[in-house]
């Protein structure tokens, strides 16, 4: 296949939706996100029903367990990584592959920081005896926050793969929709986290 060579002047305004494939990817990622919302709604509902419930001894409660400073730092990292991927999409519209790669890399670094803190948090809980099988509360908690963490891992692998594959290739109408879909997915991860820090951590501290 002959590759179309673009210049900033010939690069379309909506490179992510300039082709039939790009349009399909755009609708496709949204359909996926809608189904993912249903998944998260059920794990959220499960958590809300089972939080602070046994049957094991109830020495652990949301109030004794959660630390707000950690949740706050994690929130800031993830929220900022959402903005950096917006910057990546801004540079994509301006046909600037360097900008896309740089900002996507910063997004990955911030995501890694978030993930590191989450692993630390989980390790700490397990260490003090709040393991997955400790109580209905602990399984519901790890399932909810862990499902989100799994999404973060998948997002990091996805975006890293896009960076590695396309850093030297440059932007074209084949990879622009791929970057765009990954950035929409990354925002969705942040959307879910907004509810997690509100419902799990903030409302957990209130008891």
């Amino acid at each position: 296949m002959e590759e179309t060579k673009f210049t900033p002047q010939s690069w379309p305004n909506h490179p992510e939706q300039a082709t039939a494939e790009g349009k399909n990817k755009f609708v496709g990622i949204w359909i996926f996100i809608c189904s993912d919302i249903v998944l998260f709604a059920s794990v959220f509902a499960t958590y809300l029903s089972l939080r602070n419930k046994g049957p094991a001894g109830m020495e652990f409660t949301t109030q004794s367990l959660f630390e707000l400073p950690l949740a706050f730092v994690m929130t800031m990292l993830l929220l900022t990584s959402s903005l950096t991927s917006v910057y990546a999409m801004y540079h994509m519209k301006n046909y600037n592959i360097k900008g896309v790669i740089t900002w996507m890399s910063i997004t990955v670094l911030l995501g890694l920081g978030f993930l590191g803190l989450e692993i630390y948090e989980f390790y700490h809980y397990v260490h003090i005896g709040f393991g997955y099988t400790q109580s209905a509360f602990s399984s519901a908690f790890f399932t909810l926050v862990g499902t989100h963490g799994l999404h973060v891992i998948i997002g990091l692998v996805w975006i890293t793969a896009l960076i590695v594959r396309n850093a030297k290739r440059g932007l074209n109408l084949y990879n622009a929709p791929k970057f765009y879909a990954a950035s929409i997915y990354w925002h969705f991860i942040d959307v879910v986290w907004v509810f997690i820090f509100t419902v799990v951590y903030l409302m957990g501290v209130l008891g």
Binding site: Q9, E21, W30, A45, S82, V86, D190, L206
Partner: protein
């Protein structure tokens, strides 16, 4: 091919207009980000300040709702009227939310109460 398109060079004026438009749009995104940071601060602050939980709980849920709508419409481009099938997507997202809400309510009130 699925990724074929007609290549058309823009005029200089059109090109500069589009660049400027992108930059203005990016500034709006940064403002949206500042609002999100502020809402997050506010949510943590009211909890730390120790107001009555009767006030805090609905208040921080409201803040979360505002922040999510901001994310959906600015960062995730649901405000982009030219998006492919954006009407279908909006309908899907909002009707999905309306369907899942009673399911959610049933979970937390009936199934495991």
């Amino acid at each position: 091919m699925g990724h074929h398109t007609e290549v058309q060079a823009k005029s200089k004026a059109q090109y500069e207009y589009d660049r400027h438009h992108n930059a203005v749009h990016m500034r709006k995104q940064v403002i949206n980000f500042a609002i999100m940071i502020f809402l997050t601060f506010l949510a943590f602050a009211v909890v730390v300040a120790g107001f009555s939980p009767m006030f805090i709980k609905p208040f921080i849920l409201l803040l979360a709702g505002i922040q999510v709508v901001l994310q959906l419409y600015s960062f995730m481009h649901m405000d982009d009227k030219n998006g492919h099938h954006i009407g279908v997507i909006s309908t899907y997202v909002w009707s999905g939310a309306m369907i899942i809400f009673p399911v959610f309510l049933a979970f937390v009130t009936v199934v495991w109460w």
